[in-house]
């Protein structure tokens, strides 16, 4: 259980993939903990990183910026980054920022792991 500005973030290894599941709202207070965790995971250069956003009901531009940063890091490390299970409100922010076509977005985690 998280409290304050720390996000509850689950991390699982699935073969050559890493599945990251942040839980809760991602805003200016909480995006630093997500950024730190993603940076740490990408430091190990996994072949595939799946960020399951199905339990994120809200994200602001700081959360989006965190994922853009992760996308840039993943590209430099030949890691495939997937965003999975976006709720409508979160997807809407990516669409407004015109980033919905920049990221590989899948309906759920299994679609990303099978891709």
């Amino acid at each position: 259980m998280s409290s304050g500005n720390d996000m509850d973030i689950k991390v699982e290894n699935r073969d050559d993939s890493v599945l990251v599941t942040p839980i809760g709202e991602v805003d200016l207070a909480r995006s630093p903990s997500l950024r730190s965790r993603l940076k740490q995971i990408l430091g190990d250069s996994p072949a595939r990183l799946v960020v399951d956003l199905s339990q994120v009901p809200y994200m602001d531009s700081s959360g989006v910026a965190t994922l853009v940063e992760a996308l840039q890091q993943s590209r430099s490390r030949n890691c495939s980054l997937f965003l999975a299970g976006l709720q409508d409100r979160v997807r809407s922010v990516f669409e407004i920022a015109r980033l919905d076509t920049v990221f590989t977005i899948t309906p759920d985690v299994n679609s990303a792991l099978d891709a």
Binding site: G4, N5, E25, D27, L28, A29, Y58, D60, S61, S62, V64, A65, T66, V68, E69, L71, Q72, R89, S92, V93, I96, A97, R98, L99, V102
Partner: protein, 161 residues
């Protein structure tokens, strides 16, 4: 022209952990003012982005700056919510506050674009004696008058900002 008092006026510190409770309060206010789920989410997002900008750029992430948020429910010519956010932080020329080129994929710089996209009015002003004022306005779709509807059930005018 009489200026109505705000329905809500709060003072908060420039702390990121206060964004969530402010979003919750405005979400409830917008829902009860006739905004649908998408519009309510957009209004809360715009205010979140505005406050985050003040915290990061107005106060350089110092946690003890003061921010005032006022919310008005305006009925004429159509129902809308007006949010004013004022601070005592750094001043910037309003015309220099602009959305960046979205073709460039990089972290950051999306807040102004998001605010402009999800509201009907997004206007920055220099505040006297210091700081900035941001005015955001949003009208719920169901409140927008159909010109052919002569029987629009609008509420009596209760003021103009």
């Amino acid at each position: 022209m009489t200026r109505l008092p705000p329905a809500i006026r709060i003072e908060i510190l420039s702390r990121a952990d206060l964004l969530a409770p402010v979003r919750a309060m405005l979400t409830s206010f917008a829902e009860r003012s006739g905004f649908d789920d998408v519009e309510t989410g957009h209004l809360a997002l715009a205010v979140d982005e505005a406050l985050a900008n003040v915290i990061r750029h107005g106060y350089d992430s110092r946690p003890n700056g003061r921010i005032w948020l006022s919310a008005f429910l305006i009925e004429e010519p159509e129902r809308r919510i007006r949010i004013e956010i004022e601070d005592e932080g750094h001043q910037t020329e309003p015309e220099k506050i602009a959305s960046r080129d979205l073709e460039e994929v990089r972290p950051g710089g999306l807040g102004v674009h998001i605010m402009q996209e999800v509201t009907d009015t997004c206007q920055f002003e220099r505040r006297t004696p210091g700081g900035m004022r941001l005015i955001l306005e949003k009208t719920p779709r169901r409140a927008k008058k159909d010109p052919s509807d002569q029987n629009h059930a609008g509420s009596p005018e209760n003021g103009h900002q």
